[in-house]
Symmetry: C2
Subunit: 350 residues, 2 copies
């Protein structure tokens, strides 16, 4: 059953049916009713594929994400799909597993797809090929919006968080508690958040005249397993830190597993502040101090930025659209894990 069948049955032309379907004004009310009636009767739904081909556009948005397991992702996805359904967009999901190769392949296959827009949490901020491919999408009139992770030297719209500031506050909070030996489990240096959170960490130390100890900077790659090893390395140092700033969700879980397996208690044995809240912990005895961000809202916002691009495109690029890069503020949720136990024992500094 296609538009011709409907036209025939309604005694009109396919063009008129099309007009009715698309809400075109130039249809007599009576004709419209008749057409709608036939449509109902036949339970007809116009093929969006045919429509897309004809108008050269679709309502499909691609969302490329590195780690489907990370709760940050599922929360942000919620924001994205909620907003998308407002606009009747469909969201395609792709996981890169933090693998640039895979990312390239996905981008390659997307060239064929006639998507309306692209949301991506890129694996790396310095990957030339990804940057190049994304630029090509923009050239082809397909807006790209970055999420969480930036791409160096690019001018895509994006929604990020104030990673430096967030990390700074986290570490400063530890310093204020009396900690001097503060370590960081960092993320991949090739991702903006990975890089910037180390930056914030260093800034906090420096601004408090605490020398930076490179032994205290260990890469957890934003992965649970790696972070487990990272904190292990730290704790086995001759002079282990009294506090750890864990720069990501997965990182934090790795730390917690290490602590648990080694019978260590927060505060008592080590202080810990994490980046990104972990909802489930709220139900437990682990009162983790974290840098929180409005993750769900970030998802909504990223869709709004995309929408804005679509709008401007439609309006014919009247004025050159300005790049919009939104940095959401983080906030510190103090729950106690930042406390310095040995402080009371007059054990400050080495």
């Amino acid at each position: 059953m296609n538009i011709y069948d409907i036209a025939k049955e309604a005694g009109v032309s396919p063009a008129t049916v099309s007009r009715v379907i698309n809400g075109n004004k130039n249809v007599r009310e009576e004709t419209r009713r008749k057409v709608l009636e036939v449509i109902k009767e036949n339970n007809y739904a116009p093929s969006s594929v045919a429509r897309n081909l004809s108008i050269g556009e679709s309502q499909n948005i691609a969302f490329i994400v590195p780690d489907v397991e990370n709760p940050f992702f599922s929360k942000v996805l919620q924001g994205i799909t909620d907003k998308a359904s407002e606009f009747n967009y469909n969201v395609f999901m792709f996981g890169t597993k933090e693998d640039s190769e895979r990312e390239h392949r996905i981008l390659e296959s997307l060239k064929a797809e006639l998507i309306k827009g692209l949301i991506i949490i890129p694996v790396s901020e310095i990957d030339k090929e990804t940057a190049f491919r994304l630029k090509n999408f923009e050239k082809a009139g397909i807006p790209v919006v970055l999420l969480d992770r930036d791409i160096k030297g690019s001018s895509f719209d994006g929604v990020f968080s104030e990673d430096i500031q967030g990390a700074f506050e986290a570490v400063e909070c530890l310093i204020n508690e009396g900690h001097r030996k503060i370590a960081i489990i960092s993320g991949p240096d090739t991702s903006r958040p990975g890089h910037d959170r180390v930056e914030g960490y260093k800034m906090a130390l420096t601004s408090h005249q605490i020398p930076i100890n490179e032994d205290y900077i260990v890469n957890g790659k934003f992965l649970e397993e790696e972070s487990y090893n990272a904190i292990k390395t730290l704790m086995e140092l001759e002079d282990p830190p009294t506090a750890v700033f864990s720069s990501n969700n997965m990182t934090t879980l790795g730390c917690l597993r290490y602590l648990k397996e080694n019978g260590m208690k927060l505060v008592e044995d080590i202080s810990l502040v994490g980046f990104d809240d972990i909802k489930e912990l709220e139900y437990t005895d682990i009162n983790l101090t974290v840098v929180a961000r409005p993750v769900y809202e970030m998802g909504k916002e990223v869709m709004e930025l995309l929408e804005r691009r679509f709008r401007y495109k439609q309006e014919g690029d009247k004025q050159k659209v300005v790049t919009r890069r939104n940095y959401v503020k983080t906030w510190l949720i103090k729950r106690g894990s930042e406390k310095y136990k040995k402080f009371q024992e007059g054990n400050i500094n080495e």
Copy 2:
């Protein structure tokens, strides 16, 4: 740049280009090389929309899920997308938020979409409209596979878990610890898991000659908030239970929040066994005994069932395909929260 441009530049006809693209044997090796060369040079990607329209089929799979927040979902999604990328399928995501209305609207919009297959965790097992719409998809040659939740009287393929058995074991484990006053926070009775887990609960009690107390069956609707209220109701009973079986992830979190807010400790104040493991808890002091299932594998399996349908369709339905309904086994992970503290105090039975 389309197939005609490539054809012209390669000095062949569009048909030949099409043959090359689709790996048709009937192309001289030399021609094929030439065409591929031109394709590379122009960075050309054939429009999948045009292709889909032409062949009347796509590689898109729709995945409809009720609760994007539930970790069960993100784990299963991982299995689905992993498997999907093996077959080069794209996965569309839709969230119903446990709302049948929304589910119907999504299904309606999907009629227009030319999808290859449909995976759904239906909101309700008795919703006539959803059942009807799904049946229509099958009639239209679009295979439907159910996940986790069944649809009454339907004969769709599906991947489920042995909910009755799982619940039975959970409750029996509590009984074996000495509990007699065992409550359940149930899910919506309109969903199979919701219904069956109560079933298993009742069976366990009955088979141990423990009378069923309707006051001990409280509906948490698989929602955190509702479950918080549910356990509150339970604990405020004149004769509160000594153990609770929480029939779902979200339900469990609701319970835990209640316990935390009221300063109650597992085992000491109440015993608890949950359905579905919660990864994050492994890093904490909450040693929750749970009914676990192979969630990731369920995702992969559901894609495999879909694939099987596609294959049989292609082979022309040689023999009528038998419905495949896979029930994955659950297993109990005992971590201690099932223990009956008062047992030692000789406080068995009322």
